[in-house]
């Protein structure tokens, strides 16, 4: 029990650099915003505080319904993202798996090529 705890603590200590990295990344954003807020001269006007839209007057709410095409692209992204995730442990253990590993991954990728061709032929990748 006690050794298990020690092991876990030792194991988590290896993640200290990642923790430091997260803290630094957070601090970078927070410090930059806080510093510019403290340093900036503040002369607020109605015109200045309005949303800036390339110099022209904003004419509607920013929450408009997006075209469904964005969603298709996101969906395809998720699916191919999962495919790439499967490739990673395969690549790491490629030596041990040998020819069978190559064949099974070719079947896997083959099915994805079918899906890709299908999406392409159906025009899911086109924007028109």
């Amino acid at each position: 029990m006690e050794t298990g705890l020690d092991l876990l603590t030792a194991y988590l200590t290896r993640y200290a650099p990642i923790l430091l990295f997260i803290l630094l990344a957070l601090a970078f954003g927070v410090v930059t915003l806080a510093l510019s807020y403290l340093v900036q001269p503040k002369y607020p006007e109605a015109e200045k505080l309005s949303a800036y839209e390339c110099g022209s007057e904003p004419f509607s709410d920013s929450r408009i319904p997006f075209p469904v095409r964005y969603y298709v692209i996101a969906m395809l992204f998720v699916i191919f993202d999962i495919e790439v995730i499967f490739l990673y442990p395969w690549a790491v253990t490629f030596d041990q798996l040998g020819l069978i590993g190559l064949i099974e991954m070719m079947i896997f990728i083959g099915l994805f090529v079918v899906a890709y061709i299908y999406a392409w032929r159906k025009g899911a990748l086109e924007w028109d």
């Binding site: 408009i64 997006f66 469904v68 298709v72 996101a74 969906m75 998720v78 993202d81 495919e83 025009g123």
Partner: protein
Amino acid sequence: MANLIFFYFAGIIVLTATLVVALRNPVYSALSLLVMFFHVAGLYVTLHAEFLAAIQIIIYAGAILVLYLFVVMLLNLKREERFHQQTLTAALLGLVLFGEAVLLLASRPLRLSSMSASSEPNVASAVGNTESIGELLYSTYLFPFEVASLILLVAMIGAVILSKKGLLESKSS
């Protein structure tokens, strides 16, 4: 120390998961979900499931959340106008889940330290998490792996068909 880490992750997960359903602005809900995904990944790290933690961030925080945000934008959800109160269903489901959790905890004495330190940490750390997953996935679990690609193929065809239907309808109307 180990308990502290577990309770930090678990506490933030419960808090942000509650915020996901409690917040009125759907975009805030999605951002709260993002924080939850990161803490679930942290919990996976304490369970020696490092590969799973990386996947949690790449797939869930990186891709699934984008899908959620797109749904919010697609449906043009404003504050609470499209929400339905489903107190009865939620209460029943919550009761079932709570009973399940109580049963699980009662059948086994709760030992957090032994739960978070995996039963065979030496094996995992000697070979490496990703290697052990790769060896198992592409030998013992070969068939489920190939089935997964078929399921993804079906998901992709479904997405294309559904969106094409939506596109045609929006064009004709």
